[in-house]
């Protein structure tokens, strides 16, 4: 299967994520869009790692494994981020009874 498909899929996922972050006001949906972008990157990393391994396997048995390692790192960081982010969103809801980020402009003043 050509690598192009993976790249287009990842690009589509990433663009959907960016568009979602830019346009949506609901904090939880923005959060989900961020996850979408992270996973688009993960997908790319896995795809390239596999491609790399296929090409280099004859000379280097462990070629491309570092890409997969990165994916795990990103998943760990994303999980941590989700826990912190959701906590912030809970606190936000408690304070302003809404999860609309446009109400969060207190820093301006």
């Amino acid at each position: 299967m050509p690598i192009n498909y993976y790249i287009f899929l990842a690009l589509a996922l990433f663009s959907i994520g960016v568009a979602g972050v830019l346009t949506r006001r609901n904090a939880i949906i923005i959060f989900m869009c961020i996850e979408l972008m992270l996973n688009a990157v993960n997908l790319l990393l896995v795809a390239f790692s596999k491609m790399h391994h296929l090409q280099m396997a004859t000379t280097n048995a462990v070629a491309g494994t570092d890409g997969q390692l990165f994916v795990f790192f990103i998943m760990v960081v994303a999980a941590a981020e989700v826990s912190v982010g959701l906590a912030i969103i809970v606190m936000m809801y408690r304070n302003i009874h809404s999860v609309d980020v446009n109400f969060l402009n207190r820093l301006k003043h």
Partner: protein, 630 residues
Amino acid sequence: MQNALQIVYLIPLLPLIGFLINGLGRNYLSKPVISLVGCGTILASFILSIWVFIQVRGGNTFDPHYFNFISVGKLVIPFAFKIDQLSSLFLLIITGVGFLIHVYSTSYMHEEKPEHFGRYFSYLNLFVFSMLLLVMGANFVILFIGWEGVGLCSYLLIGYWFKNTAYNKAASKAFIMNRIGDLAFLIAIFWLIAKLGTVSFSEVFAATNLAKLKTLDITVITILLFIGATGKSAQIPLYTWLPDAMAGPTPVSALIHAATMVTAGIYMIARSNVLYSMSHITMDIVAYTGLATALLAATIALKQNDIKKVLAYSTVSQLGFMFLALGTGAYVAAVFHVMTHAFFKALLFLGSGSVIHAMSGEQDIRYMGGLSKKLKITFITFLIGCIAIAGIPPFSGFFSKDAILLSAYIKSPVLYGIALFTAMLTAFYMFRLFFITFTGSFRGTEEQKHHLHESPAAMTIPLVILAVLSIIGGLVGVPEAIMHGGDKLTAFLSPVIAQHAEHTVAHSTEYMLMGLSTGLVIVMIIAAWFIFRNYQAKEATGLGKVLENKWYVDEIYDTLIVKPLKKLGSFLNDIFEKNVVDGMVNGVGKLVNYGSRQMRLLQSGQVGAYVLLMVLSMVVFFVIQFFIRK
């Protein structure tokens, strides 16, 4: 073996010590102590100078090197002295005449408060120190230090009575005029460093180095040095400070005019005679400038009524003569005239000081007259000074002036004619001054008449010594035509000032020239006697008024230079400063203020807006990465 001249460093050091003692202790020392320190240090220097002179006369020259003053890369400027025939002669003049002026000052300034008395003597010592440094320096930089030093001291001493605004202005004028010349001098030094990499006299004047210089370089350097000399030695166009320098106490005028300061330019050119002889253009410029100055100043002196102003213009005129001698290649004659001039000009100034002292500060000769009866010693010595400056044999002025006239004659009869005319004017204005002051009837107030008295011994003894020197001082340079081997000065200076085998004139011509100048001078003196023996002051008219106002040169300078500069200054202050400079400074502030007010609008506080900006800027970076950098 150590050189017998090892101790020459004491000659400038002693006046410096005197300066420090009197300068620092002026509030504690009594007047006798101050006088003793001031005169004693100079006397010690004088005795040392005599000893040095005797040594040098015996053929022992000395170039001590003390330490490296400046050492940068290849350029090394040593702090070194050069003791040779020329500098030892100047040492004698400076310390000798300087000492007499110091002694005179102790009496002349006795009414000053002790602290001002101390200040005065410390300045005098510093003045002598600077001048000694100037003539002893073995390179142009040490010379320049002394050069600046005398400029500073002249400023300090001219403005000695600092509570008088006019005197302060005269002091500033002297300083600024000198600065203009000093700038040219500095550029000449830089030029020498750029071309030769050295400023030492012995190296610059070495034939191998001179061969490296193009004619243009030599011409530019010598002209720049000459501009420096015009400032210090009061030549056109920078001479106007010297007559104004009369604001200082009279002994200071004597010091400036006779022993120190104004002779610096002559010394410098005589020292650089090798360079000057190589540029005919510069020589002509020097000669014509000197002659023009001599004539201009002599005409002004004809109509001045301030006793010191007459003498001041006569100094400018005599300096013009010296430059004429330098310009016609008669360096020895110029140095000779410096020497004789130092004697009779110091005598005349100190004499005028004695007159002013007797007249309780009155300087206007229109209110004097008939002083010969009351001031016998001053009268006789002043007469000797006048005869010497007029140039009647065998007084000293005759020999030196004759040598200058002769060299002018060799150069061109036209120069000679103008110089002779100037010499006649000199005799006329000096005897006008003499007759108005000392003969006729007294024209001052009764109170002044009652107060008239001869000055104390501390003032008259220097007068007598200087009078003797004015009479016999010329005998060191008796022309060859009168006495074979009489021109000892030329022979003495020959190692420093090379003699050119230029065409000389027959002895008969020389006799004729001497007879002509002496005869004309006597005629002028008799004319002055008939016109001024019973002088009555009257308003000057026509040309006389122009002369009385010094050809309006000060006014012309004022209109052409000072006023435009002031206009420019007030323009820069009122318009440029307020609008442009302030505008720029305030503009920066306003720009930042306005810019930050606009930037503030970007801070919406909306998370979406921030993210959008972030994404957009990332896109921009990607675009740059892809389309522009590659």
